[in-house]
């Protein structure tokens, strides 16, 4: 066994010079990030509703200016100081991106934050009160834990989105896609719901459709919306049309990506804040098997639950107890533990799309549509693949893209979210995301010189 073929020893001797030295600007930027975090953290203990609004506004403004300014400076400088192009240098050796001590620490911090957010929001009281001034401006009422979370989430997508655009500025597909993600998050998942709240309407996130937002088609939720009058009618119409018409039609023409990589906030966070961790998704066949059972299991659960809720009024009493339990456990296990805690907390360990890949019922529906009734495919360019493995490595969904590309086969997989990174990192121009006539989607249209690549083995 040579040194290099055993991973451990390889990493140990390359780690010695993996840390690029930080410049003065980067150090200053990181100091501002740290200051911002410190100001936010100290609010946990030092802020209450007794504190004057003006003081809180100042504190809040200083914290976020410092955090956003530092984050932007660091991220933009890091990428803009180099030349445009694919730069994944040291991804496999840096402690943060290669599941080292920094990666694990970040995972623990993120996971803990989500545990507190979902189940011990009382601990965040100071932080929530700190955000009252902002919430008053945007929503016309005091902040709650979800407003604070939304602020963090949106800031993360905007700051890290700017960094992602800088990193992938050689690719128009990535620039445009990231821009749309940032716009959607800020508009549809932050400012618009706040505006609804200010107008005393339901604070609704129009970019999250059923079954990802699992209660959106529950009879109770729709009732609530309808009571809100004209805006309520619009909202109900939006969700019904979104789920029943837009989803199948757009997926037919563009594949699942129209939602997962261009609209959805979960995908948005994954592709911006999580971009440095996309390579940590598991590519094994075993992971694919688990994925298919889990994601379709969740889909069945939410479909059954939603259907039952619609029959609640004619349901015998004996069934209601178990049904409420089913609903409660879905909210706890899937809605909170999976989508939130694991979904983001495990970014540095399992890659950025843990939730999208293993749990999201919306992704499951889109995936089935993409697999069986869509014009989308990733085309493999003839016999040009050199089997290097960059496509598989940087696939956040854990698809072994290379196994198709090296056979000259097109890639049609339910899980593919169409982020386009396989095509971006391919050094030989082998992959391209395309929408075309459906009948020959699998057609590899490849070189005459390739003999008999069609059978297995």
């Amino acid at each position: 066994m040579t040194d290099l073929t055993s991973n451990l020893s390889y990493e140990s001797h390359s780690i010695a010079h993996s840390g690029s030295q930080l410049g003065a600007l980067e150090k200053a930027a990181l100091a501002f990030v740290a200051l911002g975090l410190l100001l936010l953290a100290s609010a946990l203990f030092g802020v209450s509703s007794q504190m004057p609004e003006a003081t809180r506004a100042l504190w809040l403004g200083a914290a976020w200016t410092s955090l956003i300014g530092g984050g932007l400076t660091f991220g933009l400088h890091k990428h803009l100081s180099g030349k445009p192009g694919v730069r994944n240098t040291r991804k496999t050796t840096d402690s943060l991106t290669a599941r080292g001590a920094w990666g694990w620490s970040l995972a623990i911090v993120l996971t803990s934050f989500y545990v507190v957010l979902y189940w011990f929001p009382g601990l965040l009281e100071g932080l929530i009160r700190l955000h009252d001034p902002l919430s008053q401006i945007l929503r016309g009422k005091a902040a709650d834990q979800w407003f604070v979370y939304g602020t963090f989430y949106t800031a993360a997508i905007l700051v890290m989105g700017a960094k992602a655009i800088a990193k992938y500025r050689h690719s128009r597909y990535q620039i445009l896609r990231t821009g749309v993600i940032m716009f959607t998050q800020l508009g549809f998942a932050y400012l618009l719901p706040a505006l609804f709240a200010k107008l005393n309407q339901p604070e609704v996130y129009l970019s999250y459709l059923w079954p990802l937002a699992y209660d959106k088609l529950f009879p109770g939720t729709l009732d609530q919306f309808l009571k809100a009058g004209n805006i309520g009618f619009f909202i109900v119409g939006w969700f019904v049309v979104g789920t029943l018409i837009a989803t199948p039609v757009l997926t037919y023409y563009f594949g699942k990506r129209w939602y997962c990589s261009w609209v959805c906030g979960c995908g948005g966070l994954a592709n911006t804040a999580g971009d440095s961790f996309r390579q940590n998704s598991d590519k094994s066949l075993k992971a694919w098997k688990i994925e298919r059972w889990m994601i379709h299991g969740v889909l069945v659960w939410i479909v059954v639950l939603t259907t039952l809720l619609w029959f609640e009024s004619v349901m015998p009493e004996a069934l209601k107890g178990p049904m409420y339990l089913l609903r409660q456990w879905y909210g706890f296990l899937i809605g909170a533990a999976f989508a939130g805690v694991v979904g983001v907390g495990f970014y540095p360990l399992m890659g950025t799309r843990v939730w999208c890949r293993f749990g999201c019922p919306m992704a499951a529906i889109l995936g089935l549509l993409q697999r069986f009734n869509s014009r989308f495919r990733i085309t493999t360019n003839g016999a040009q693949c050199i089997s290097c493995g960059n496509c598989s490595k940087y696939c956040e969904m854990g698809i072994d893209v290379r196994s198709y590309a090296q056979r000259g086969q097109n890639i049609i997989r339910a899980s593919c979210v169409g982020c386009g990174m396989c095509a971006t990192v391919c050094p030989r121009g082998v992959l391209s995301l395309e929408n075309g006539p459906q009948p020959r989607r699998y057609n590899a249209e490849h070189g005459l010189s390739m003999l008999g690549e069609k059978k297995s083995v």
């Binding site: 390889y10 990493e11 010079h17 089997s387 290097c388």
Partner: protein, 472 residues
Amino acid sequence: MILDSDLHMTQRNIVIIGNGVTGVTAARHIRKRAASDRITIISGETDHHFSRTALMYIFMGDLTYEDTKPYPDEFWTKNRIDLKRGWVEQINTGTRCVNFRGGHSVNYDELILATGSKPNRFGWPGQDLEGVQGLYSIQDLESMEKNALTTRRAVIVGGGLIGVEVAEMLLTRNIAVTFLVREKLFWNSVLPSGDANLVGREVLRHGVDLRMESELHEILSDAKGRARAVVTKSGEEIACEMVFLTAGVSPNVALAKNAGIASNRGILVDRFFRTSDPHVWAGGDCAQHREVPRGRRPVEQVWYTGKIHGEHIAANLCGEEQPYKPGVWFNSAKFFDIEYQTYGVVLPQPESTQEDFFWEQSAGRISLRVRFDEAGGAVTGVNVFGLRHRHAVWEHWISAKTPVEEVMADLGAANFDPEFYRQYEPEILAAFNAQFPHRATQLRTKKGLFSKFMENLFAHRGTPLCAKPEIL
């Protein structure tokens, strides 16, 4: 159709030396045809097949060694392909036996030599010093990894694909690079001058100290037998801690030669990849064609040809009589941030019966070159830099001898760039019409899969492949 069971009543013992792309492709395709044959792949380099073209990404930290394995480790047991680690010392064609360093041996009924090649060393003084190496194997990468720790400047000798890769690798570790290239323009033995200039500019843009028309004279040693400087033919001394020899590779023929198998530069093979011994086959980097197909070279040292050789060996070894017909030539590379693809034949200078069309984007980082026959206008080859073009489309155009006017009119059909990328076809066409007014034409096919052109191309391809996605 001949059934496997009819052809080989008894199982054969097939031994393959070399687990690179040729040996592994041969093994896979033999297994498809022959369920009962015993297949053994021998390698001294690694336990498992990995993608040699990805070596640079391991060093830079884009990929781990594990990531470069095209097949998961279970693949080999699942397909009953035995893997054997060890260096072969000798082949005995009389007893059909392969002897390992250290005394062990295995017998074979059919032997495939896929031993690859090694970096050229042209007898430079000091070429065997510590710190002097090529980049071909995992072992080369290991020594590079070790030496990089104490290197501030490295000198690369020989301008080709590997040299550029080595330069890119070293720069990611903040090691300064001096690049000695014998030719006047970069890789000018293969690329026409416009293309060579474009690549040269890209190398310079990344901060490489590129010295054209500069040759290695000798490598100087320090007291411990390590390289400390190179001296060029013009007498300049350049201090450095590492020297990379990247002036091409030559086939590994020693094993075959010692076994009495006819060899020249490479191991000589006929159109069916048989060597001079009836039970020994050879392919990939180490093989040399006795009959060279038109427009090809006798020794082909490219990933893609290795794959095609492997497929042919498998077919022939299983009795299918498939003479080497490699089809339209293609290749690709990446020079720092500029991708390169080529289809058909584009020699540095056009032949006397050929016309040459060259378009370059104003910033000088994207270009397209088309060669075609002066008389009928049939296209014969294309080079693209900074553009992605469709393999199937160019293969069709070249093999069908399509006139250049039609190719230009349908140029969008070849566009394989990602969505939303700027489309240069109108610009390219305007340049073409200005250069060849008597062949002037108009763009009729834009990028995408919906065109009439694509319809027809697919119609040529026969039934679509509707297989379920395969994992193994």
